[in-house]
């Protein structure tokens, strides 16, 4: 029985491993759902949006008037768009460093043998899995002018009740909503901390270094690729902030132009994009805004790699570097 099998294995092995044509066919077979899906649902839409960005389409007409670079000129000069872009960048400048440092510190603390740390990890991580709709509504309730806890805490210190959801204060609430998810990175950070070689930490201590030296010279280099990956991810997600800004607005009835209810301080880039598309039916201009948005992401990602990437330390684990 066994011998027979081995006997047939020779040609079978050559057929499957030797023929690179068959392997290539298998490769494209396995990848086909993704290749077809990406072509139809990512590449085509991106190309179509790029085409629309050179038109003044209203979203309904059959005719899509070609306007060349006019939309782009407007994106780069419109004070509304530049203001929404700068608000978004401010949000990124606040959220990204706080989230990255915050989740790193929390992960380092959770990595210590502290009683109940699994319980703490769960509690700190849960806000990160709460969907944006729910976190916006939760904080809307907390910051409600009349019944919210925020004003009740204020009253304890003799501060008069204020309306948190209008004016510039709305931006503070938006920041709070996004910072609530600070725990999002702790699981991947904790996993990364497990890969830090204990022997090297011990070696630093033997050389008379303290915990901070060990962290700086051993831990940080080892986990830096994970931190870089997270920085890019958090930057992209923060740039896309939309749902919290929409649902924090004082009244969102779902009907009419809901975007005008959003206080000016929270009119971030995506709010601007949505109102261009769905309140003003400016599909061409909205598409140009999306193209510019994508370029902003590319530029920021390259910047992060240039600024942070330089200090990222690869190939600590020989088994990891071998597989690339």
């Amino acid at each position: 029985m066994r011998l027979q099998r081995v006997g047939t294995a020779g040609p079978a092995k050559r057929r499957r491993y030797g023929s690179s044509k068959g392997e290539a066919l298998a490769f494209y077979g396995f990848l086909s759902p993704w290749i077809i899906g990406t072509a139809a649902l990512t590449l085509f839409p991106v190309g179509y949006a790029l085409y629309l960005s050179f038109t003044a389409w209203d979203g309904v007409s059959v005719f899509k008037p070609w306007v060349g670079l006019a939309n782009y000129r407007e994106v780069l000069t419109s004070s509304d768009t530049l203001s929404s872009l700068s608000k978004t960048l401010l949000l990124v400048a606040i959220i990204v460093p706080t989230t990255i440092v915050g989740s790193l510190v929390l992960a380092v603390l959770l990595n210590e043998r502290v009683r109940g740390r699994t319980f703490f990890r769960t509690l700190i991580y849960i806000p990160a899995i709460v969907p944006p709709v729910a976190s916006a509504l939760i904080w809307k309730v907390v910051f409600d002018q009349n019944s919210g806890a925020a004003n009740r805490v204020g009253a304890m210190f003799g501060v008069d009740a204020v309306n948190w959801l209008t004016g510039n204060r709305a931006f503070v609430v938006l920041v709070v909503v996004l910072l609530w998810g600070v725990g999002a990175g702790i699981i991947i950070n904790l996993a990364a901390l497990q890969t830090v070689p204990m022997e090297q930490l011990e070696a630093v201590k033997l050389d008379g270094g303290n915990a901070l030296t060990a962290f700086r010279h051993v831990t940080l280099p080892v986990i830096s690729p994970v931190l870089l990956f997270q920085t890019v991810l958090v930057t992209i997600t923060t740039l896309q902030t939309f749902v919290p800004a929409l649902l924090l607005s004082p009244i969102s009835t779902g009907g009419g132009d809901v975007y005008t209810n959003i206080p000016n301080a929270n009119r971030v880039y995506m709010v601007d994009v949505y109102s261009q598309f769905f309140a003003y039916s400016r599909y061409g201009y909205g598409s140009a805004m999306l193209t510019v948005f994508f370029l902003v992401i590319v530029v920021l990602t390259v910047l992060i790699f240039k600024l942070v990437g330089r200090s990222v330390f690869y190939a600590v684990d020989p088994t990891a570097s071998g597989k690339g």
Binding site: F30, I36, A49, A191, P250, F294, I297
Partner: protein
């Protein structure tokens, strides 16, 4: 005393070995009171908004504006209004069906694609992998509006089809995780199977898939949460009266003049978020392991 004996034995055994051994007495008493306190405070801060949500959901509509910490009366009947003022159960069914459908499809599809990237060689592979990484950077929003126009063209608006198609295409993030995970398997695993006469599909289904259980859980939970939490796609692609909970709860609970009802919003948000938390708690161990197994090996 007997307990002390028990705990002391492993200490004696472990400590001389090397630095990685964790003496058992670390777990016996809080060794780091400062760290413990910091974690406790952060945890409480993270959970407090949920407590406020529960309390708010129980205030009566006539007394939503009272400024006391606890409501003067607990209005449990609010929850009846939460599920009747909007077609809550219809929305919930849509959310469950769409999230589960998408998660199931994308979990399997991403595994298939991830296997291809990890274990097979072909011309153009590096280019396609570069494309995969680049699509991770394309925000949903950039593709969604043109995709919406595409779906409208084919009459797919108001149906579940967009989620089926998205699910089948796989999710770049999940594909990446699978690829990392499958790359770490030894080559002998396949060679032995080939000797037994197994084809690629059988190798994948019978060897690789069963070994990737934690990652399957991670991918499923991530995908389920993505659709459950997605407001933008269902808001664009589904009818307002036959949409998902995310849209229904996000837009609902206002009386005719457009005034919001904070107590019902709180109740709706709570009912909407509870399934996600339960799913996470149930899957937590595998979920964490899935990340640990794959996210880091490069």
């Amino acid at each position: 005393m007997a307990l002390d004996e028990k705990t002391r034995v492993p200490v004696a055994r472990r400590t001389p070995a090397h630095g990685t051994a964790r003496p058992a007495w670390h777990q016996r008493r809080p060794k780091h009171p400062v760290i413990f306190t910091v974690l406790l405070v952060v945890s409480v801060l993270m959970v407090l908004p949920f407590a406020e949500l529960v309390i708010s959901s129980l205030r009566s509509t006539n007394a939503v504006n009272e400024d006391t910490w606890l409501p003067s009366a607990f209005e449990w009947s609010n929850y009846k209004k939460v599920v009747t003022l909007i077609p809550f159960w219809r929305f919930a069914r849509n959310s469950v069906v769409l999230s589960a459908l998408f998660a199931l499809l994308t979990t399997l599809s991403s595994a298939v694609v991830g296997y291809g990237f990890a274990r097979l060689r072909a011309p153009g592979k590096n280019l396609l992998f570069g494309l995969l990484i680049s699509t991770m950077m394309v925000p949903q929003i950039v593709t969604l509006i043109p995709t919406y126009l595409l779906f409208a063209n084919f009459g797919l608006v108001g149906t579940y089809w967009p989620w089926v198609l998205w699910g089948t295409a796989g999710a770049p993030y999940a594909i990446f995780l699978y690829r990392q995970f499958f790359s770490s398997f030894p080559k002998e695993l396949e060679e032995a199977a080939v000797i037994d006469g197994a084809g690629r599909i059988r190798i994948f289904v019978q060897i690789f898939l069963p070994l990737s259980r934690p990652l399957l859980v991670t991918a499923f939970v991530l995908a389920f949460n993505t659709v459950w939490g997605d407001f933008i796609a269902p808001n664009l692609l589904l009818d307002q009266d036959n949409t998902t909970l995310a849209v229904g709860v996000g837009n609902g609970y206002v009386i005719n003049q457009g005034f919001p009802l904070p107590n019902l919003i709180a109740g709706g948000a709570l009912l909407y978020v509870v399934p996600v938390v339960i799913l996470f708690l149930a899957a937590q161990r595998s979920y964490v392991r899935g990340f640990a197994n794959s996210g880091l090996k490069g």
